[in-house]
């Protein structure tokens, strides 16, 4: 029989805030990808404005973790959970920043929607939001098998970003008039690649919560 601990209400509060952070970041990513696809500057502006709410939540989660460490001295699975919550929170905040940075680069692309489409930027955006949807589910389920699937998916996106990056460089070499806009697109691609990388980090943190294994910096085994 398990005892209810005062500590559990703090952990519940932390879990709730991390999920809230996931939901807010997810919405930011979805919105920025729509704004990018449609060239919607109003939506892009809203994404920039909403970033402060994510930053506020980031600070709240940090403070709550600090309080739990100081007052509850967590061990074992509790300790792993709180360490991971801190790291996941940090990764989420960075993803939020990247959504905001992408939003800021939509305006210069206004007259180049065809190039955006040709280079499959919106497609990579959709794949990234799909990946992040999986991350949100993973944070809720703590499913190890799913964590590996998320990491595999992130890997594919990162590879694709690299390929698109090479295509953009090639465009820049051949069409000097698109250098400025292509540079913006290159940065956006790089930001999507970073979102995929942070998604990998979050999956690694979930693996650490579940079985204590530190998998970062290890090339994960395909189809594991």
């Amino acid at each position: 029989m398990e005892n209810y601990r005062i500590f559990d209400s703090e952990l519940d509060k932390l879990a709730h805030k991390v999920k809230q952070m996931c939901t807010q970041v997810n919405q930011q990513l979805i919105d920025v990808v729509i704004a990018l696809k449609k060239g919607d500057l109003i939506l892009a502006n809203a994404v920039v404005k909403n970033d402060h709410a994510i930053n506020n939540l980031d600070v709240k989660i940090d403070k709550l973790c600090q309080k739990i460490f100081a007052l509850q001295q967590p061990v074992a699975s509790d300790l792993r959970y709180i360490i991971s919550a801190l790291k996941i929170n940090n990764d989420l905040e960075r993803i939020g920043d990247h959504a905001c940075n992408i939003a800021k680069r939509i305006e210069p692309l206004q007259d180049y929607q065809q190039l955006v489409e040709d280079l499959k930027i919106d497609s990579i955006g959709l794949k990234t939001t799909d990946l992040f949807g999986d991350v949100v589910e993973l944070v809720n389920t703590h499913d190890l098998k799913f964590a590996n699937q998320v990491m595999n998916k992130a890997e594919l996106i990162k590879d694709e970003c690299e390929q698109i990056g090479s295509s953009i460089l090639s465009e820049m070499m051949h069409q000097s008039e698109v250098v400025v806009v292509a540079a913006n697109i290159l940065i956006i691609i790089n930001l999507f690649e970073r979102v995929a990388s942070y998604s990998t980090n979050i999956a690694e943190s979930i693996i650490f919560v579940v079985n204590g294994e530190i998998v970062k910096h290890k090339k994960h085994i395909e189809n594991n």
Partner: protein, 252 residues
Amino acid sequence: MILEKIHTENMYLYYSGKMALKDISIQIPEKKVTAFIGPSGCGKSTFLRSLNRMNDLIDGVKIEGKVMIDAINIYDKNIDVVNLRKKVGMVFQKSNPFAKSIYENIAYGPKINGINNKNQLDEIVETALKNAAIWDEVKDRLGDSALGLSGGQQQRLCIARTLAVNPEIVLMDEPASALDPLSTAKIEELIVQLKEKYTIVIVTHNMQQAARISDNTAFFYLGELIEYDKTKKIFTNPERKQTEDYITGRFG
């Protein structure tokens, strides 16, 4: 290389026919701190006391299996229990200095063992008090009553008294549970220093203490050894659910 100092094999202990320890097999390394944790009544203190045959003093205690120290079964008939307890010293929860001077508390054991030379005794007293990290606090008042010392100082005096007969193993049964945080910190620091020379086995209810000072931790429950591993492993990712539930306070 880590040498094994104590090991038990399929050890059972009964109090008047009632099983208190069940099938305990454990290897305790030399010059390390090994902590025993578990809820009250789990058998951890009983097991600790069986390592220097303190349970012999209780009627109706029966032990089966092997309790080996330096590869010798300490329950063999030809074992001299007095010599065993010199080799395996013990410090208790409540400090218990004799109503004598600080000096006499330390010199008592060596005197009983036949050392009467004043210079030799002075040296033993000084070394023991230094090793127990209390020399600087008492060196100018060795003739004063030990009962005038604070609780934390009395406990360190008792540790010095144990060290004075030159043991190889020191068993500690909740040595800091009655002390304030500052005295507790001094005892913990002392334990970590002592492992350079001695094998330390400590029973504690304070899990943070076990985590801070021990190299290995054994978790006991209902007379059984549930899990024994490196302390770092026990407190970050224990193998057994019972251990996890106990150290995280989820035990019902």
